[in-house]
Symmetry: C2
Subunit: 432 residues, 2 copies
């Protein structure tokens, strides 16, 4: 049986999962592939460190740059993360005509154009199922399953840490800092959780999803990003009272004038399937011309789910190697991608939840609604909440009809610059 | 740009969708494929019949056998349905070394082994994404997305007609015949709905899903099948009262002693994502070793969703043609499939909902539970429902702990053969 040599760059959590899965499912993988995947080398920082998996010490090396030089390695599997060294290694491997499998969303979101183009020129495969939504085969779905369709919009829960936190906060009673601490304790949030809770990680994934969904190049910096840090317990309670659930969404939509790409906490109707995606789970909802609504749900992170996607990619690349057709079926040919404008957030039109912190005195509601009305923003529902009393601060909750964000921002800036509100107004976008 | 000729066998609902989608998304498909898919001929019964789509009359022909003989056709797309003529046509096309795309689940469930083997010998592709769950790319997901994983169990809502009916009945108050009539009126059920509501269609799909999930050959006749016809309004009400939802499920599970394959209405916890799959929508829930739980949701039927899967298959086969590798990546190599026993229903162990129709007189409950106890069946919850009065019939609802079906059947046979019950006891399996 033909052997396909694999070189791992990095042997952390996901790398250990890859080694374990290849061993545990060895027979089934050989039967399905008709060939044998063999890890010939794994580049690590410290060969003596204890591993989460049994691995032959002879394959460990600290010479990360040497992996691509080896003739017995046909697929280079990049699992070190980061964008600078990873870029050099991947481009170096492509130059040596190695096939690439990577789980590195940041690398592809930042340097994707350069890497895809290099792979296309060299005629090598680059597969990256594990980069988005961990174990959910969403890259294949967009690339092949829906290859004949025209995707109109996508909405995804693509960051497990954020979803864990909003799921816990929706249960009520606790504030963000407490829930974040719990997530860190349970291993669902990193010591520095910025990239996850701030939306940066979701933006990386959205950049990749948008490229495949809308056949366009995506400039990561133009994606509007807002995290979940500033939402308070009252916002989750209000969402519930009005029949909504708050979820950390990555949103993409095709418009004639450009692509709308955003990452932010979003209020969605409690009846939506996405509203039922709990804890660290991920899901992508897709709306397309021919298929209509579809959804893909599963584990978005974790050692074995992510390794599952990596090894499925290794199998597919190995099949291409055996058939002698690597590089012949790029995910999206770089020439076929269009350059499309990403709409600035000010031009986006949607509905909003607004929470004003105001003093409970006569006339406040009237003044608020007057300013909103003067900016052409109309209210669909309004609720005042809080105890009446001298100097009591109360929350006024308003849901707007569809309005342009630029207009809303102007109104809120006018309101928050007066003594009308005692804190900046909380804004949460509704799914539209 | 290279042209790939396609011949359609049949131009009904799905065929019209294929013509429309190829036209509507022509540019995007060409850009993604790097080639042009052209329908060269469409075999129909009556060339003069009015069509749901604009089609060049010159491509219409009644010579269905002649399609495979044409040199300008590289892919034969079988959309006529049925198993006898379709088998001859597909085997004939394979013999002429045409690539095959089909949406025909019955054909593959009944003659799959023969057809896959013929395709493998001839070195041609056979793709059938549209055969299961319409537009949901579930075949690709099992074949490639989860290629590295070991699937332990699957649970699918794979028949839209049945799901429409149970969704409507769960809303309450109406009996089966009334809801079926409504489904027929709205075009969601056929004039003869037997194959859909009786579970036969779901069994066809389960045979295909099981082959891909468990790497085994599946004898369709050994799948246990039960329809939704005999469920009454009270069963849906009781399910709700106890926190369940009834769904028409196709179930598959791998056991050391064999594969458990069943199609029947199933009570599942209301908190499960599958419980929220409404109306005619389909979904497949998969539990696998590395990924854990995942779910795939969307339109399981309909002209455009089904056509979407067919055209995505055409694109993939066309890519293989362009790369010169047709037949090199079979879904599952026939040699790699194992022959595994399908467990007889009597050996299945699960929990049960039982509805006894009994006379309301002293001692009945005691007699019921005594017989169940004598057969080793223990009850987790019990409810008597109905008005007390002379000769009044009441319903006794019981949920059992896990028990073997053979044992349960013996107990119910003992009970129903006495004067204890006035009608056969209704049995609904719980998901386990």
């Amino acid at each position: 049986m033909r052997e396909i040599g694999v070189g791992l760059l990095g042997l952390g959590n996901v790398g250990a999962g890859v080694v374990r899965l290849l061993a545990d499912n060895e027979k089934a993988i050989e039967a399905r592939l008709g060939a044998k995947l063999v890890i010939k080398a794994a580049a690590v920082r410290d060969v003596d460190r204890e591993r989460r998996v049994d691995v032959d010490p002879a394959i460990l090396t600290t010479d990360v740059d040497g992996i691509s030089a080896r003739d017995d390695i046909e697929i280079v599997c990049e699992l070190i993360g980061g964008v600078t060294k990873a870029r050099d290694l991947v481009l170096g491997a492509i130059a040596k005509r190695k096939q690439i499998v990577t789980a590195n969303k940041a690398l592809l979101a930042v340097h994707g154009d350069e890497i895809y183009a290099a792979a296309e020129r060299a005629g090598v495969d680059i597969y990256y199922e594990a980069a988005v939504c961990g174990g959910i085969p969403i890259i294949r779905t967009l690339r092949e399953g829906l290859a004949s369709d025209r995707i109109e919009s996508i909405a995804g829960i693509v960051n497990g840490t954020s979803n864990f936190i909003v799921t816990a906060m929706a249960k009520g009673g606790r504030e963000f800092s407490e829930v974040l601490a719990e997530a860190q304790e349970q291993g669902y949030a990193e010591a520095d959780p910025t990239l996850d809770i701030g939306g940066g990680d979701a933006a990386h994934k959205l950049a990749i999803l948008a490229m495949l969904s809308f056949d366009c190049r995506v400039d990561l910096d133009k994606i509007y990003v807002e995290g979940i840090e500033s939402l308070e317990a009252i916002d989750y309670q209000m969402a519930k009272d009005f029949g909504f659930v708050i979820k950390p969404l990555a949103l993409g939509r095709r418009y004639p004038e450009g692509i709308d790409l955003r990452v932010h906490p979003t209020m969605i109707p409690a009846s939506w399937l996405l509203a039922d995606v709990p804890d660290t789970k991920n899901a992508l909802y897709v709306n397309s011309y021919a298929l209509g609504a579809s959804m893909y749900y599963g584990a978005g992170a974790g050692m074995m789910p992510t390794a599952m996607s990596v090894v499925s990619d290794l199998i597919e690349v190995a099949r291409n190697i055996c058939a002698g057709v690597t590089g012949s079926k790029p995910m999206r040919s770089q020439q076929s991608l269009e350059s499309r404008e990403i709409l600035p957030i000010e031009k986006v039109e949607t509905r909003y939840y607004l929470r004003f912190s105001v003093e409970d005195r006569p006339g406040v509601l009237g003044q608020l609604t007057t300013v909103l009305g003067a900016h052409g923003i109309s209210i669909s529902e309004l609720l005042q909440r809080g105890e009446r009393g001298p100097n009591a601060q109360v929350s006024v909750i308003a849901f707007t009809h569809k309005t342009q964000e630029g207009r809303l921002r102007a109104a809120l800036s006018a309101i928050d610059s007066t003594a009308l509100t005692s804190a900046p107004t909380m804004t949460i976008r509704l799914a539209s």
